[in-house]
Symmetry: C2
């Protein structure tokens, strides 16, 4: 007892009403809201440095996360104090209190004691982002407008995939990232592809399964027909996914060709035309970690590279 416990917290958020992850004075941010909720539960002042969360993927203003991960080191006495009158384990008690205190646009998925050597940021092996687009010819679902970009043009998906394929591998993404003085914009993209979401019935046994003379309407899934860009990388430079999506859309609409994109990859230089597209289409879908026995080694290796 009397020690410090590292908690792993898995959660998601609708980024629409946040100025991104990172805490900023006087602006509503995910980190700010999360640390305020923890301060309340752990009875610490809101600006206590012990509340500082370390996150896997620092998302920008308006970007969403379905599976975000962070860690926090907490005195075990503070966790134990969460139990109160509940008949549950301390970490579960903290989870329940946190669920109640967090705003409705943050969803808490899980709170667990982190395995030895776990660091939410530096242990991560890869991040998966998806960018959703509703292009010409796809039904506009007004309920989805907060996480789908609407584009009026018809898009050339094959050309977009020619561009996307060039990003795979270890490259300097300097054309597609906010300059990072003293740091690198070299990243390893493991997968990058545009796909059309198939139009599928929402439920397996829909009304058409009824042995009825009338063929009722079959409700499709809400994402039916959307165009989705899935990208997996070890990590992403600032604004990288949205800048790559913006460039792919330029190619898809024919405003630029694939050779232009190739040039951007060959000569990593930021300029206006390769800037980021709107944030609402983007969601951090997943962060992958190595098996428990390799967490510490991974964190060591990454920390060495990033602080070069």
């Amino acid at each position: 007892m009397g020690g410090v416990i590292r908690l792993r917290i898995d959660f998601g958020y609708d980024g629409g009403a946040f100025y991104g992850w990172a805490k900023q004075p006087a602006l509503r941010t995910v980190q700010g809201e999360f640390e305020a909720a923890l301060a309340k539960i752990l009875r610490l002042p809101a600006d206590d440095p012990r509340l500082r969360l370390t996150v896997a993927g620092r998302t920008d203003t308006g970007v969403h996360a379905l599976h975000q991960v962070c860690h926090l080191d907490v005195d075990d006495a503070a966790i134990a104090a969460c139990v109160g009158h509940m008949d549950v384990e301390p970490v579960e008690a903290l989870r329940r209190r946190l669920t109640r205190v967090l705003p409705s646009d943050i969803a808490l998925h899980r709170v667990s004691v982190a395995p030895e050597g776990f660091d939410a940021r530096f242990s991560a092996l890869e991040r998966t982002y998806v960018y959703r687009v509703c292009d010409a010819g796809t039904l506009r679902d007004p309920r989805m407008r907060g996480f789908v970009l609407r584009v009026d043009d018809a898009l050339d998906v094959d050309a977009m995939n020619e561009a996307a394929a060039m990003t795979i591998g270890l490259h300097d993404f300097g054309s597609f990232a906010t300059p990072n003085p003293g740091g690198t914009t070299i990243r390893e993209v493991k997968y990058a592809h545009w796909d059309r979401v198939p139009v599928r019935p929402l439920v397996a046994a829909g009304p058409d399964a009824v042995s009825d003379a009338v063929a009722h309407y079959v409700t499709p899934t809400a994402e039916s027909g959307l165009l989705c860009f899935t990208i997996v990388a070890d990590a992403f430079a600032r604004n990288m996914v949205r800048s790559l999506v913006g460039a792919c859309l330029r190619v898809g609409t024919g405003r630029r060709d694939v050779a232009w994109f190739r040039g951007k990859m060959a000569e990593p230089k930021r300029e206006g035309e390769s800037g980021p597209c709107p944030p609402q289409g983007l969601t951090l879908e997943h962060v992958a970690y190595p098996p428990d026995d390799r967490l510490a080694a991974r964190a060591e290796a990454i920390r060495a590279v990033r602080t070069l």
Copy 2:
């Protein structure tokens, strides 16, 4: 020329920021916004009775529609005036202008000249509604909270389907509807079923299709794992779907049993416990019409029944 043209307008909306469909003074409603947009385009005063839209399904505050239908009778001269400098047909010109003027939470799908005898309300054969629930054990997607009801309990879906099955056929839904003095609460339910949305990959060829040693994360569809109630009927009494869903949820959580639901069906009497559940989970997904040559006959028949 100089005649009146009936337009059929297909559209959808996110009901979250509307006080329902029906126009009300000083409140933001779908009808109010729609008629204001039409007034602007057709250069008529906002309260001109010629702008009055007839809708297929009058949704309540907070209820969404993916495929709503309304009709409007317009002087063909007013439609022709929409063309202006555009090189398109008058109805297409009106559609383009309307798309630009409507707020972002209303999506215009289509504007067409209605076939002879078409009445958006009275010609309709059946309406399909879906109510979406995120219950215990299903991942909470914060992006979807505007159109999914969150329930903390684990639900007995079999019991809920036992109840749902009792609604099929011609019944008096007086237990599940806001009283309608001088009208009937008898409706014909054609389909009613609770289904778990299967967990499926968002795109067919996801990262796992790559011949790569690493198995990347496969993004599921956003509705994966939700519990959905699909109900199809000729028409619905006021608050009927949400009241039925509320009653099914009482059965699903075990607070009430199937026999209680059977009693509600047998004795059509409104009381507190069979009131509506929250609106955000509900979407009008579809309105079906008969073939063009039977539109007028259908409207005649329905008008006769409803005004009995």
